[in-house]
Every structure is written in structure tokens, then in C-alpha cells.
Symmetry: C2
């Protein structure tokens, strides 16, 4: 049996890198409700996911530390005394990683090494959950994709995230750190980036829809799975308190894969039937790094931690739209 998150986080000291970002801030909300003492580290680099609006209403219950995970010195200090580290900071844009591979390397590889070195030296007892990504599987050779699928990344971001994930597993195996990695698929929900497609294409769709403009669906036939952010948060909490998770890489997944065209229709439905979209061919520069169909087999985390996605895609889209209709001005 694994410990119940509720008990484990009461008064626990928790550090979240990327804590002002989409998943980090939703995780912070759950943690303050469990009476954890939460510190959020975020660089607020404008191209990334950090947004102070994401902690609206919990400002007084968290500590915010603006710094960059590339800053070894601040990370070394901040990691000390923490019971849990949710390591979510990352460069997530596939296109940016191809244009500027060095920045992606510094954040997704080098900073990860320095965070792990700091844990090893100054806080070897901390429990670490790393936010990894399905991106490293590349073009699937079978579906659904389980964790034993070959890793064949199709962009610099996928390669660097792969290295960053492996550092975590290695430091667990060799140095005894209690680290694990969750390979996220498309996570959606309130507080995601909707300004552009750097985090997820769905962000742009949502923005266009609530601003009353038609959104573009590229391709349309690709199958994808989607995790609602509250379900992703549950997975992070469960993984953090489980001994069985240590040293593991675990896929998250969604309720049922849909094509992008189906998703577009569902989104319009969730918007009360209002809104339009156009299906367009894939732009050439994205075609080269597209991966075709993807959906995850999340059997391993279900067996180990009892986790599964609980929110239907319809509910996920409805709640997401409701959030951004109310808070749009802070996200565009």
C-alpha cells in the first residue's frame, strides 16, 4: 500500500519548479489544500508557461521565488530542507528547440543535472517527481504506447527531455535518490498557455474560440489522448508518496483517444455549439517532426499506484472553456 497523499503532505515542505506554470500551479493549489508548505520556483520567461495569475487566490498560501533552474546557486539553496520536489520546469516548445537547441539543452539537460547534483549533496532524502513527456517516443510503432516502447525522439526537445528523464532514473539507481518520472501526454485544463502553441495546440484553439474566431485544425486525422490537469495532479501526488514509484518511468494517459477533428467538434459542443474551425494541411516545417497517431498505455501506473484518468474529455473541455472565459484577459 502507498501512503495517502492527504496525510503525507500535511505540513510537508514542497518545492515546485515551474511552479507558476500550467501544471505546477494546479499542483500548488492541491497541495495548499492539503496543508503543505509550498515554494514555487519560476523564471517567468515570457515564452514559457509561468503566469502570476495562475496563483490568483492562493498568493498568501505559497512562497514564490523567481529564479531560473539554470541558476545553480539558487537551486542549491532552495532544495535544502524540502520533503518533496516536483520538478516541472522545462522548455516545452518543439519548434523553439529546433531553432535554438542550446537553450533547450541548458534547461532540459544541464539544469536537470545540477538540480539532481544539489539533491544528492544537500538533500538526499527528498522525494522527486519529474515531469517527462511522451514526445520522446517519437513516431509510435505500435499503439497504445507502453513504457517499453523504443525511444526515438523527433526533435531536439525530445532528445533533451529524454536525457533529463534518464538523469533522474540514473540518480535513483546509482545514488539512491527517490526519484521517478511521469511521461505526460497532452495535458489540458485551466491555466494552460493559450497565447500561442508553445505548450499545446489546444491553447490556441481555446483562445480563438472564446474570442469568436474560427480556429485551425492541422491534419485532423491524428489520434491523441488528453489528460485533464486535475488527473495529472493526482498522478504527481500519488507518485511522490509511493515507494513503488521510485526509479520508475510511468506513462499518463487519457480516457479514450480521439482524432483532432473529433476533438475540435467536442470543443465546439462544449462551447454550447458556438464556434467554427477549418481543417488545413500540416505546414511543412511541422510535418517533418510530426509523429502520427499517439495514445498511451497507462497500465503501469494503474497497477503500481491505482491511478487512472477520471475526467471525461467533455468535462475537461467544458471546465477549460469556463475558466478562460472568466480569466481570458490575463492569458492573452
Amino acid at each position: 500500500m502507498h501512503t495517502s497523499p492527504a496525510a503525507a503532505f500535511d505540513s510537508a515542505r514542497v518545492l515546485i519548479t515551474g511552479g507558476l506554470g500550467f501544471i505546477g500551479s494546479n499542483l500548488a493549489r492541491a497541495l495548499v489544500d492539503l496543508s503543505a508548505r509550498v515554494t514555487l520556483v519560476d523564471s517567468l520567461v515570457p515564452e514559457y508557461g509561468g503566469n502570476l495569475r495562475n496563483i490568483h487566490g492562493i498568493e498568501d498560501r505559497v512562497r514564490v521565488n523567481i529564479s531560473d533552474v539554470r541558476d545553480e546557486h539558487s537551486m542549491r539553496y532552495l532544495i535544502q530542507g524540502q520533503d518533496f520536489l516536483f520538478n516541472l520546469a522545462g522548455q516545452t516548445s518543439h519548434m523553439d528547440s529546433m531553432k535554438d537547441p542550446y537553450t533547450d539543452l541548458e534547461i532540459n539537460c544541464r539544469a536537470q543535472l545540477s538540480i539532481l547534483e544539489a539533491c544528492r549533496k544537500y538533500n538526499p532524502q527528498v522525494r522527486i517527481v519529474f515531469a517527462s513527456t511522451r514526445q520522446m517516443y517519437g513516431r509510435p510503432e505500435r499503439l497504445p504506447v507502453d513504457e517499453d516502447h523504443l525511444l526515438r525522439p523527433v526533435d531536439v526537445n525530445g532528445i533533451n527531455k529524454m536525457a533529463g528523464e534518464w538523469y533522474h532514473i540514473l540518480y535513483s539507481q546509482v545514488h539512491g535518490l527517490r526519484a521517478c518520472a511521469l511521461r505526460l501526454t497532452n495535458t489540458i485544463g485551466p491555466r494552460m498557455r493559450i497565447k500561442d502553441a508553445r505548450q499545446t495546440f489546444l491553447g490556441v484553439w481555446v483562445r480563438q474560440l472564446i474570442e469568436g474566431r474560427p480556429f485551425e485544425v492541422w491534419g485532423g486525422e491524428q489520434l491523441r489522448d488528453f489528460t485533464y490537469v486535475d488527473d495529472a495532479v493526482s498522478a504527481f501526488l500519488a507518485a511522490a508518496v509511493s515507494n513503488a514509484a521510485v526509479g520508475q518511468t510511468l506513462n499518463l494517459g487519457g480516457p479514450k483517444p480521439v482524432t483532432l477533428s473529433e476533438l475540435a467538434r467536442l470543443l465546439v459542443q462544449a462551447n454550447g455549439g458556438a464556434g467554427q474551425f477549418v481543417v488545413k494541411p500540416f505546414p511543412a516545417e511541422r510535418q517533418r517532426i510530426d509523429i502520427g497517431d499517439y495514445f498511451a498505455d497507462y497500465g503501469r501506473i494503474r497497477r503500481l499506484l491505482g491511478w487512472e484518468p477520471r475526467t471525461s474529455l467533455r468535462d475537461a473541455l467544458t471546465r477549460t472553456l469556463a475558466y478562460f472565459r472568466e480569466h481570458r484577459e490575463h492569458y492573452v
Copy 2:
């Protein structure tokens, strides 16, 4: 059909990173015999494989440029106008990578990215062969290990080499560079490092043996395969001129795997029966990153390029000992 190396290299401009090292210098010897115009880049970092003695006798037929692959500016200049790039420079010590992961990252990841960026911008036609390693397979789950085996590196070096290899494949797929990667197993022969075990444990054995001291065999039952350096050089030459190799990762292998104890006996035999060894348990710090048995399935490179190892292990050991008996003073 692939072009014959002999014709393709006549007057060709060839850059070898790590060119004063073990494999690089043997490759340079083959290339000057094929009338290539060879430039060797090497940092001569004392802990690595570079040694000016390695080009003894061909000094006047190669150009030596002392610089580090981490130096973007020199690499950007040197890459221009080259027909071939044999990209062999790397940090190879597993133990050093665990003690100083950043240096390993700078050489095996960041420098690889900057070399590829330089090729993309200033010489997109160059043909590139990258020296990769079996190390990234980790502990094999089946034997022999083919290229579809999962990558599960067990040290920082393996993770970073994995990223470095993937950059090459990615730049081939996305940017159209003509790059491929050879996953080397244990390569042995004249000009290898024998000062310590940073390159291969066999180096230390050879040194002890020719200095008349007993050598230590750790464990002893692990199966390994060994490629004689001349065979490795043939693979590099064949891969460089083959269109079929572009975008591929190809295992090298050896004639027949042997246990380390058998290898030790063969080495003593190759030494005319003179010499002793002791079998010792694995030191704890190495045990944690040991991978058990390994030997490669090299069927893919045999099918694509017609390559196979041609030198028997006995001949390989005999020639290696003969070389170091004659040149020992330059290597210890």
C-alpha cells in the same frame, strides 16, 4: 551498391575529431594511405585518448589542429570545405562522468550540437560518421543486442552519448545532413590508452603484462565482444561513403564473445604464455554501473554495408602486445 572507399577518399578533405586518439589515429593512417587530405582535431586533454605518438610516421601527411570540440569558433572554421567528418572526440570514462557530469555533458552533448549546427550552416553536404557506443544499451535484456534493443544507460556518459547520437540522427532526418552513427563495442588494438582504464580495461591489462606484473580481472564471468581497431576503421570508411547508412545507427561487433577470464587467458597466450592475472570481485562503485553480459548483433551493418569483423581475437591481442612492447614508453 556503395562506393568503394579507396576511390571516394582519393584527394578528399577529411576532418577527424579526436584525431590523435586511439581510433582516430588508426583511421587517419588508413586515410592517408588512400591519399585523403586529413586534418586531425584534438584537445590533447591528458585524461583523454589523444597522444602525438599515435601519428608517428605520418606526421608529414596530416594536418594537426589542437583545439577542443567545445570551442565552437574553431570547429565552425575547421568544418568548412570538408568532404567527410569523422566525429570521434568524446569523453569516454564512465567513472569520470559520474564524478563530473557537467564536463561529460559539455563534450558529449553540447559540443555535438554545435558541430552539427556548424555543419548545417556552413557545410550541409559533408558526410558525417559519429562514434557512438554500446554503453547506452545498459544491462541487456536479450543477447545478442541489436539496434532495436531498448536504450537504458547506466551512467551519465551513456545518457549523454545517447543524446549526442540522437542529435546526429535528428539532423539527418530533419535537416538532411548525411550523418550516421556506429555503436562501438570494446575496440582494441595499437594506440589505445593503456595508462589507465579510462578507455578500456584491456589497456591496463596490456600495460601490466608487458611490464611483467600480474593484472587484475574483475568478476571474470561477464561475456564481452571485441572489435580489432582495423576492423572498426573499415566500418567507419564504409559507412562514410554509403548512402544506405545515412540516418542509421549501426552496431559493430566482434568475432565471438568471450568471458573476461577467457580473454585474460588468451592475452597471456598471445604473450607467449608469459604473465599472470588474478580474478577479483567487482569493486562496489563499479558494480552499480556494470551491465552484465554484452555482445552485439551486427547483422544490420553486415546487410547494409557488407561489414563484418575479420580479425580473430588471438591476432588482435598478438598485434596489440607487439605494438606496445615496441612503443610502451610513449604510452605510460
